[in-house]
């Protein structure tokens, strides 16, 4: 079965599981019917996508079919890229909306063109357009009309803004050559799954100055069976493995932090593993000493963050979990658009001298602590002097916990709905910034963007018997990232679609990449590019 069919069925059935309370034959028939219509439509989309790619690649050439030639705006685009160097030409056609009407298929498409001119200028064009198609008796498709290119984005630069220098600074390192240069699919075939490696596993990266030389070093987390790697930043900028002992843990490590846990002016290391949070003390920048493991209630660990929520000078640790161990016992609790069977996140309060106490319940963080939490970030969003906590949850609502003092006691209050930051979706990443420099923190949330999801959820026969509200939720799940903008009242508004197309987004962060004082957004994306190429 190909991935297109699976996502179709996935979205359809997930909904059927959630909302179709009816049992028996009728429900089954309904599901099959929806499936078939959506599948037929998706098959047509695939062919139209191919035709459009063929048609639009003529933009790079001198002569174009009359259907394009007759529209001035298409000619203008062709002017920008024609004569560009062949091997740098790239074209991507993504259909994100399909409507069927009396035998005619209306599609909306995003087109991305990349090229390099003879003068080595880099050119990038993004545009959207509509087109309509008719299926012929032989199963082929005939184009009836093509619309003007709209919402044009045109970029040009004499050079690329970033240079991939991985090989230059890491390429000769054996750790890189033998281990890190190879991706997950390589290791899946070589490491027994029993060690804690799987096809869906995610492992993080941390930067911090481990040896106190003023330069950030790198810690790379790995799935179970492969050692995490501590690599040192040498004066010439290259990255080398060091003689530091005690860093190469083999357990699946989702996330790591360089933090000075014992306030002795060096960077200790904390690791999120299924066995708990491993606490490692930095000893003279030469070795790591195991100071203990904070036992957690769940195993599907994801994000690890440090803060000092009670401002006592000792760092506290917060760990999130996606799957919950209870979900096995209670199958029905998974609901695609509002899952409440996730693992419980945990807060560990630092008491100094490597002592921690569990503070989740005590501080009120146990409220609604049943979501699939993939990411978290601490930030004093209300500027009252203490850090608040935003959690990005998969399959549902995100949470914002405001840090309050209630009768002299630190208490977190969940206010996401109150201030408008629930951002229902497949939350995967959190980053705080102040993009408009109004002095009020804004938050950028990484979500899933899916062309297939957008196509299917917008079809009129998608879940015909479900409520519009539910359909809207499903549509939202495919819409992508969200920038939530804070106003003076302390509430947030969605910035809108201009920053949402980050594809299947993971880390989505603020960073001012051109030093102009305005924070830009970087999005790492792509779910799984397996060895078999039959993707959406």
């Amino acid at each position: 079965m190909n991935s297109r069919a699976v996502i179709t069925i996935f979205i359809t059935l997930s909904c059927a599981i959630c909302c179709n309370k009816k049992k028996g034959q009728e429900e089954k028939e309904l599901k099959i019917k929806i499936q078939r219509n959506v599948e037929q439509s998706e098959a047509a989309t695939e062919i139209i996508n191919f035709y459009l790619s063929e048609l639009l690649s003529s933009l790079f050439t001198q002569s174009r079919p009359s259907i394009l030639n007759s529209i001035n705006d298409w000619n203008n685009i062709a002017e920008m890229v024609k004569g560009s160097i062949n091997e740098y030409r790239k074209l991507k056609v993504s259909i994100y909306e399909v409507r069927h009407n009396k035998g005619v298929i209306h599609v909306k498409t995003r087109l991305e063109l990349k090229a390099q001119s003879q003068t080595k200028k880099h050119i990038g064009i993004i545009t959207h357009f509509a087109s309509s198609w008719k299926e012929q008796d032989d199963g082929s498709f005939e184009i009836l009309s093509i619309g003007k290119p709209e919402k044009l984005t045109h970029n040009e630069s004499p050079q690329l803004w970033f240079a991939n220098q991985t090989n230059q600074i890491l390429g000769s390192e054996p750790v890189f050559k033998n281990h890190l240069s190879k991706g997950l699919d390589h290791w899946l075939l070589r490491i027994e799954s029993i060690h804690g490696i799987d096809a869906f596993i995610n492992n993080g990266v941390a930067l911090g100055d481990f040896n106190g030389d003023g330069l950030d070093d790198l810690y790379i987390c790995q799935p179970g069976g492969l050692p995490n790697r501590l690599l040192m930043h040498s004066a010439d900028g290259t990255l080398v493995s060091s003689n530091v002992t005690g860093s190469d843990y083999l357990d699946h490590t989702s996330s790591a932090l360089f933090v000075d846990i014992d306030n002795d002016s060096d960077q200790d290391l904390c690791l999120a593993t299924p066995s708990g949070i491993v606490l490692l003390e930095n000893d003279q920048g030469e070795k790591l000493i195991l100071r203990g493991t904070l036992q957690t209630d769940e195993v599907d660990c994801h994000s690890l963050t440090a803060t000092d929520y009670d401002l006592d000078g000792n760092l506290d640790l917060f760990i999130t979990f996606a799957l919950g161990s209870l979900s096995a016992a209670n199958e029905l609790s998974f609901q695609f658009d509002d899952a409440r069977d996730g693992g419980s996140n945990q807060l560990f309060k630092g008491n100094g001298k490597w002592s921690f106490s569990e503070a989740t319940d005590l501080t009120g963080l146990s409220a609604s602590n049943d979501r699939h939490s993939l990411a978290a970030s601490w930030h004093d969003f209300d500027l009252d002097g203490d850090p608040d906590l935003y959690i990005a949850n998969d399959y549902g609502f995100n949470q914002l916990f405001r840090n309050d003092i209630d009768n002299g006691k630190r208490t977190f209050k969940e206010i996401a709905e109150l201030v408008g930051v629930q951002d229902r979706g497949a939350g995967m990443s959190v980053s705080w910034g102040d993009y408009n420099r109004d002095g009020l923190p804004d938050v950028y949330v990484g979500n899933m963007y899916s062309n297939a999801g957008n196509r299917i959820t917008n079809m009129p026969d998608y879940l015909p018997k479900s409520s519009n509200a539910l359909k809207k939720n499903y549509r939202r799940f495919a819409k992508g990232n969200t920038l939530l903008v804070q106003n003076k009242k302390g509430t947030f508004k969605d910035f809108g679609p201009n920053v949402s197309m980050g594809r299947w987004a993971w880390s989505s962060i603020f960073a001012d990449i051109n030093n102009d004082g305005w924070e830009d957004l970087l999005v790492a994306n792509g779910y799984i590019s397996g060895p078999v190429q039959d993707d959406l």
Binding site: V6, I9, I123, I125, S157, P158, W161, A163, T166, L170, K182, D185, L188, L189, H195, I201, N202, N203, G204, V205, L207, G208, G212, G214, D216, I220, H233, S242, N243, L250, V299, T307, D308, L315, F334, S377, H379, G385, D386, D394, Y395, Y435, N436, G439, G502, R503, W506, S507, I509, D512, I513, N514, D516, W518, L521, V523, A524, N525, Y527, I528
Partner: protein
């Protein structure tokens, strides 16, 4: 949205779509893959423009973490991105075409935590537009960027002022800052960052790992490959080759010249098996896949199984086998006190978890049943009953087998 799991819990309930998706990915398919990273340029706080195509960051290797830091100390932010695909990490040097400058601040707390995590710094410029950065530890997705705070200041030349809000709301004002990287200890004046780089570099590069798995799980397989007591007088190397495979030809040629000593060599050919003994071919694949989180992916050939005289599968070799490794392995597998968990891995390291994985032959029977190989499963149960019966779910396994058999009967 990670739909899989680390062998923990059922994921999305036991709903079929989730299972189908998991099977699909384990068998090597893509899912929302081959995408390219996105960069949105902030246009003075009014809008964002997708400039991915001119950034050189738009790689398509399934990115996960993004960590920022001025790695090359030229005043702009460089990027580390981790990936699911290889290479697992990429470094992107910032070469953006501008002459803009920056102020970078590393903080050290005194009354607050030493890392000053939670400290907020506001940079004030004469045009009235402030900038605000906070020291964080952990953000984005599974990422920790540098703790140094970075302020782009465009092409401004005038000196600027900073307000530092240390955790606990103690405010420190710092004036007359010009572009550069500074360290500010709580209550003290800024000092320019000094780099003092001296550490020992690991001078003993590890050898290239041998491409084989000396298995942590010792699985009985004699009934699967129909090995008799007589066959098992010596260890067996069961090697799968195929036609039009250079490495296979090379391997066969070297074995012809120098047959491996102390073992029985059995060569299988996948094309021949496909014609004459499809079942054996499938059982070979099922046995291979049992150990890894994959389903039915093409196994690079030649691939060889080392089976001990006890009839246990002990090692899987990919590609041409190094004779030295093979003879070492034959000695190793006779040792009953091997640290199987560590010996099975390509690299050294430390474990936080104590549990030591052991083979669970019952799971292997489940794999056979999943693949519909009922008679192979029955034979396996008959052959390994003494081991299987110790598993508490053995009775349930028998029930499943019987139910499947009933389904088969017309």
């Amino acid at each position: 949205m990670p739909l899989g799991n680390a062998g923990i819990g059922p994921g999305l309930g036991n709903s079929d779509p989730a299972n189908q998706l998991q099977r699909m990915v384990r068998s090597g398919s893509s899912f929302s893959g081959n995408e390219s990273h996105v960069v949105f340029l902030n246009e003075k706080g009014e809008n964002f423009k997708d400039i991915s195509s001119i950034t050189g960051l738009d790689y398509d290797d399934d990115g996960r973490s993004v960590c920022m830091s001025d790695w090359d100390r030229d005043g702009d932010l460089d990027v580390w991105i981790s990936n699911r695909n290889g290479p697992q990490i990429r470094y992107f040097r910032n070469d953006s075409p501008n002459l803009n400058k920056s102020i970078i601040i590393s903080l050290e707390g005194k009354t607050c935590n030493r890392d000053a995590i939670g400290a907020r710094v506001v940079l004030r410029t004469k045009d009235g537009l402030s900038q605000m950065r906070t020291v964080t530890a952990g953000s984005g997705f599974l990422s920790q960027s540098t703790k140094a705070l970075h302020f782009g200041i465009a092409n401004k030349e005038e000196s600027m002022e900073l307000d530092i809000y240390w955790p606990g709301n103690k405010i420190q004002k710092v004036g007359n800052i010009i572009p550069g990287h500074y360290v500010i200890k709580q209550g003290s004046k800024p000092k320019s960052l000094e780099v003092n780089n001296s550490f020992e570099i690991n001078s003993t590069p590890r050898n290239k790992p041998v491409d084989r798995t000396l298995l942590a799980q010792v699985l009985p397989v004699k009934s699967i490959f129909g090995l008799s007591k007589n066959d098992l007088k010596k260890p067996i190397l069961l090697s799968m080759t195929r036609n039009d495979c250079e490495q296979c030809d090379y391997q066969l040629m070297t074995w012809k010249k120098n047959p491996p000593k102390g073992l029985t060599l059995k060569i299988l050919n996948s094309e021949k098996l496909a014609k004459n003994n499809q079942l054996l071919l499938e059982l070979f694949q099922i046995t291979h896949d049992h150990f890894y989180e994959i389903i039915g992916r093409a196994i690079p050939t030649p691939v060889s199984f080392l089976i001990s005289t006890k009839g246990n599968l002990r090692a899987i070799y990919r590609g041409v086998i190094d004779p030295k490794t093979l003879s070492e392995d034959m000695i190793s597998i006779q040792n009953d006190n091997l640290d199987l968990r560590n010996i099975s891995l390509p690299f050294e390291g430390i474990w936080a978890s104590r549990s030591n994985p052991t083979a669970r032959p019952l799971n292997f029977v489940e794999d056979l049943l999943d693949a519909g190989k009922l008679s192979a499963a029955e034979n396996y149960i008959a052959s390994e009953k003494n081991t299987l019966i110790q598993d508490e779910t053995f009775q349930m396994l028998l029930e499943r087998l019987n139910a499947l058999k009933k389904e088969r009967r017309p």
